[in-house]
Subunit: 770 residues, 2 copies
């Protein structure tokens, strides 16, 4: 059974009641972030129960020495991990000499957490009876500023309910933190300096090996009954990597004692002198004050929702689910900085090292393209462009040459980090997703300039890789691609994975097309690039041979492309006929059994049909869907969205809705019993796609928007907005009508879209109801 | 270039001259053992240069916690490793107050090591000039007693050449040792007690987790000019895990100072009170004295050589090579104890953990069958019989049931230890080798009693495994075996590896045959076994279906069985056409490149033709040899012997000789540049097979010996002896004649053998020359 303690609410994630066993799960679910940093919902005060502490700074990572049982040539030396960063939220609290600790107080009542997604803050409140008999009422509000993105703020209020109290706040900054996931239990941070100035403190530490410097700071203000106390710490405890202030106030029964703590990080990614920079941030935050920062926060989130909200009528759990997904995506990546990317767990945990996967290109880019300015998606593409040299180095390590590029499976700085041969060396389809994202970006935004400026070089490196990676089969008289792992990681080292072969051919064809187009339309770029990468017609002709003579496994009997050679040799027992006690197979079966089974972890052949929908007829899609869906176990969070979209296309709305539900509340309801490790951030973009591309049927064809709206029987209506080439279109779908509304803005032109193939023209500020 | 510092000699391994860079290699090559224990040729005195310390006690192991990058369901918790055991050989030496250390003396001359294989001892001698100007001449003789197999002996002589000297011997026993290869750098030994009595000392330690107790002991006697000094230690240093005695004598120029040290281990494998047992061993050794022990040693080795020697005339390097192999096999496994087995590195290093691999059944059993009493091979079979329950547990962990047995890839106590999914879960052909060894044992020895007593249960467990592991392919209308790794580990997770499928079918067929035979001839055993394992005719009929409808990949075009499905899709570039800079591919290529290449690490399809030679015609063998040999890189030490035997069968004597040379001096000439890690013990049995089965052409058919002698052009002659069912036959092959000599013994019957198909009868003590 999955969990169901989160209260249904349209705009907030709410937990009521204190349960020690839920603390770590809630620490994930109530995580907050602002694109530049993020943190799990750890308590500010001491907590002696089970907790998973986590604060993260975007882009600051540590190369953790690889741990393997048996080394294979080509393995990377390290796995780059986003670090657990120094703790700035900590505030130890003593009340009448007793430490406030929810694990050891006599009693906790009215415990409540709320993550207000509309306004971007997290609040925690409770009443507790201490061992000394005193009852206190506590409220803590916290947020990470979207505007001043190096700062966060906490307001911690305590009211003694049944007596007077001496309350001691001991706010601290601590760089003596470690990762839960450290291969060799090494320390990742080296302390540099600890300094303080009146109510501020600055702890500077440097990561070993990568030498990122970060100053973690705090600025404290203490209040009694809302009145600022003009006080400095009565005591300051300093060690090499920690500083802690002491403030003591006396309050009478019913009076509040409060501390406002501003904190955050300035790092060497953005500053040469991080201490001075931190003092500047403190100054800016002080100028706004807590309330000013909070007010800005609400405005910032209002703007985000204005553009990216999806409404669902008549299904509060579905509404809460989709907003949670959109909220998390916005917390994780703001698109401001092309050095950053989207880790599978965002800022909510350590798993997957916070590194970049092909998830970004395959699942996240559509979301950011449609809900942000196109510069955001362009930054994500540029991230890969900037890592092209590293991708060429990665390929060289595996024996490829002449500028062939293999983008890494997992990376922070462009170097491959993963160390399972069947993934690192063989899950090479990722390379195709990088190329597809360029195509997808141009198709959606119409911004072709990216191709001559940056994209074409990436496409050339990728085409070169596929040309070299394919080998000639004399027996087949065709090119084959041997020894790969497709998106379905429940098959390893297979030959001729359809998805991989198809993508490889497409990458070459697309690159050759763009070479022609750039030659015709951007001649000077063409010359610059060809001379830079030393490419000539002879080489291009060789690529074309591979693309033209690529082999695709096909079953005449079933009239479908086969996931890989030999797929039909398997015992083709459908998931439906598998005993439930055997599920999930990744927990119940040994790896060899999984591999020889027909079960599909996530869309593989169907992922190809998703990317290249317009290459196939609906009949072909249906045949492949009907063939593969019954063998798909969806044991990856990235799987159901593709199936949901395709089920919608095929009019199988019940299936589409089931798949949708499975993704949208995956974390809130903890279907996989692992949310305490963090949330599935990248798959959240797939949930968005399920609605917009699945139910809404949004596609871009020949530079124009097409929709085929459908609505699940369980809903009264839904709406979403998209930014299409600078125009903001709101699409609202009800049981019996669809309406299109065009927001006016900088762009005062009308827009023509297609609904079920029929043109619909919408004027600025106009609404068309159909 | 390979090394060539070992002096050619018919009976000894000799090194001359001191070279710091060779110390670790020589420590491997000059290793000594007696089946129960063994040790690398570490210096007794202090050595501050690079050295790899190693002493091992057969069967005493530690379960080292598994280290992997990414856990897969079914991985074992630990890897069992033979431990580096406490050091008893250590004798620190001080001469006129200066420590004797070959790394820091002023000068070393006349350094010489000799491993006398004929007599079973190791001698080291040198002259050194100390920093204080004194010249000394040193001679150290050491051996591990084959008779008193818990004891070894050292005689350490020093003569000051150019002055008088005060010489201090500090013999010690030290249990504070660690493994070079320890996954988590844990300590493996827990000290228990340290005791001494006059000139004896006893250090008792226990392994963590496995709780083997071992007492390591020493007994010392000091001599001046050969005269025993009635003295006890002038000082005794004790710590928790070490004890060291001090003896000081004064000698004049030209006089010798000597210490005789008896030492060794008594372990809880054989004794409940290891300290008392150690005192008994000391007593027994004292009774013999150093010279008595040495004299016994020479006799023991004379007996071994009497039975197992191979002579080669006209090629001293080949002679030295084959004797080194036979010597090492006898040092490693004496066959006395069915709890022991043959680790790939024997007692010469830590690699492969000293654990048991399928090498034993596939390569070692023929050697021990032919050169020892049949009880030795029976003990090796019994080792697996005793681990049948664990093999059933191993299979259950992978989802098999009903008593299906999967023998481990690597083991000490029957539990699987290895942790690479492509090996642990998929290199399942090992199971077939266990069954084949039973067949091979019965074929050679004629001792069928093993089958009803023990073997049949093993065969049933294995047949059950194959029945469950094969799956039905509707597409082929045959049974297939998906997702395996064959003997050629340069292919992983392939479908329908010919060798595996063939062996699987054979295992079932053979088991069913033996069930019939035991039913007919050993009815009570039959009833006992069927009821014990709960087997009935219905189940057997299901096995038969699998065997009868097994699929074998075959190429009509090439008229050969294919190594696996899809082999012909590869780029079939022959090894000969591969640039030399690319070799060895396991050092030059990343794993994916190796996997998609056609290159074969060790005989795979050809291994099947070796096991089942009589199932195929010579033409078929030749076709397969000619097809696969050109793709074989022989990057396993177990590969060339099979190719050598088959080349000999096919009359390709140049190839046969080349392959032979490559195996027989693999370690002496350090072809793989890794001998410092230890010697390749199990492949040494393959070298023996190359001569006896390859050049000699020995086969057993219908209970009789057949020979097809051939002689490499480089040799004048060779001879080998075999024990065939209690009769000792010597086969001598010269350029133009072959002679058979039958030794008389307990058995006074004549023997009829076949040479090139013609019967030859030899009388006891008779010789037949052909």
């Amino acid at each position: 059974m999955h969990q169901d303690y989160i209260k249904p609410d349209n705009w907030s994630i709410i937990e009521e009641g204190f349960d020690r066993d839920r603390v770590e799960s809630s620490e994930s679910l109530f995580s907050i972030g602002n694109g530049a940093m993020g943190q799990r919902a750890n308590f500010e005060e001491k907590y002696s129960g089970h907790t998973f502490q986590g604060s993260y700074i975007g882009g600051v990572y540590y190369p953790d020495k690889t741990k393997v049982g048996w080394w294979k040539n080509g393995y990377p030396e390290y796995f780059a991990k986003v670090l657990n960063a120094p703790n700035w939220i900590g505030i130890d609290v003593e009340i009448n000499g007793e430490s406030l600790d929810l694990n050891s107080v006599r009693d906790v009542r009215n415990f409540r957490r709320e993550l207000n997604m509309k306004e971007g803050w997290y609040n925690r409140s409770f009443s507790a009876t201490l061992q000394n008999g005193l009852e206190v009422s506590v409220n803590v509000l916290r947020f990470l500023s979207m505007d001043l993105d190096e700062a966060g703020a906490i307001k911690f209020d305590i009211i003694p309910v049944n007596g007077n109290a001496q309350i001691t706040f001991r706010p601290y900054v601590d760089a003596g933190v470690q990762n839960m996931d450290a291969n060799w239990e090494e320390k990742f941070w080296e302390p540099i300096s600890v300094a303080s100035d009146a109510n501020s403190a600055f702890v500077t530490a440097r990561t070993f090996k990568t030498h990122f410097t970060a100053t973690t700071f705090m600025q404290n203000a203490v209040f009694v009954d809302g009145n600022l106390q003009q006080m400095v710490p009565s005591d300051i405890q300093k060690s090499g990597d920690k500083i802690q202030f002491t403030y003591t106030v006396d309050v009478t029964k019913g009076q509040s004692a409060s501390i406002e703590k501003i904190g955050g990080y300035t790092s060497s990614m953005n500053h040469s002198d991080t201490v001075t920079a931190a003092a500047e941030v403190v100054k800016s935050a002080n100028a706004k004050g807590f309330n000013g920062l909070l007010s800005d926060q609400k405005n910032a989130w209002a703007k985000i929702w204005e553009m990216s909200d999806i409404t669902i009528d008549g299904d509060v759990k579905a509404q809460q689910g989709i907003r949670f997904n959109i909220f998390q995506l916005n917390q994780t990546y703001s698109g401001k900085d092309s050095r950053l990317n989207i880790g599978p767990k965002g800022f909510t945990g350590e798993k997957y090292g916070g590194s970049t996967y092909w998830d970004t290109e395959a699942y996240c880019i559509p979301f950011y393209m449609a809900t942000k300015d196109q510069q955001v998606a362009r930054n994500l593409l540029t991230y890969r462009y900037n890592q092209l040299d590293k991708a060429i180095e990665n390929a060289a390590k595996l024996g490829f040459n002449n500028g062939a590029a293999l983008y890494p499976m997992v990376t922070m700085n462009g170097e491959e980090c993963h160390n399972e041969w069947e993934i690192t060396f063989e899950e090479i389809h990722r390379n195709g997703a990088i190329a597809f994202a360029i195509f997808n970006y141009v198709r959606y935004t119409g911004d072709y300039s990216y191709v001559p400026e940056k994209g074409l070089e990436v496409l050339i490196g990728i085409a070169r890789f596929w040309h070299q990676r394919a080998t000639w089969s004399t027996a087949r008289n065709q090119y084959v691609i041997l020894g790969v792992t497709g998106p379905n990681e429940y098959e390893n080292n297979v030959n001729n994975n359809f998805y991989t072969n198809y993508l490889a051919k497409w990458c070459i064809d697309y690159c050759v097309e763009q070479l022609e187009k750039v030659k015709d339309e951007f001649a000077s770029d063409h010359n610059r690039i060809l001379s830079k990468v030393n490419l000539d017609e002879v080489e291009i002709a060789k690529w074309k041979q591979v693309a033209d003579k690529m082999y695709f496994p096909f079953s005449e009997e079933h009239n479908v492309y086969l996931q890989q050679d030999g797929f039909l040799d398997k015992e083709l027992i459908k998931v439906h006929d598998l005993d439930k006690s055997q599920r999930p197979i990744n927990q119940k079966w040994s790896w060899d059994r999984i591999l020889r089974s027909p079960y599909i972890k996530q869309a593989d052949t169907l992922q190809g049909f998703y990317f290249f929908e317009d290459h196939f007829s609906t009949e072909e899609l249906e045949r492949h869907f009907d063939f593969y869906e019954p063998f798909t176990v969806h044991e990856s969070s990235l799987s159901p969205c593709v199936h949901s979209i395709q089920a919608a296309v095929l009019g199988k709305m019940d299936m589409a809705y089931t798949f949708y539900l499975r993704t949208s509340r995956l974390d809130l309801d903890d279907y996989n019993k692992e949310v305490k490790e963090g949330c599935h951030i990248t798959s959240m973009a797939g949930t968005w796609m399920s609605i917009v591309e699945g139910f809404g049927g949004m596609r871009v064809k020949d530079g124009q928007l097409h929709f085929t709206p459908r609505i699940p029987g369980e809903w009264d209506g839904y709406s979403f907005k998209i930014n299409f080439r600078g125009q903001i279109l709101k699409v609202s779908v009800a049981k019996n009508q669809t309406s299109f509304a065009l927001e006016s803005g900088d762009n005062s032109e009308q827009i023509t879209v297609f609904m079920n193939g029929n043109a619909v023209t919408v004027e600025p500020d106009g609404v068309v109801v159909i």
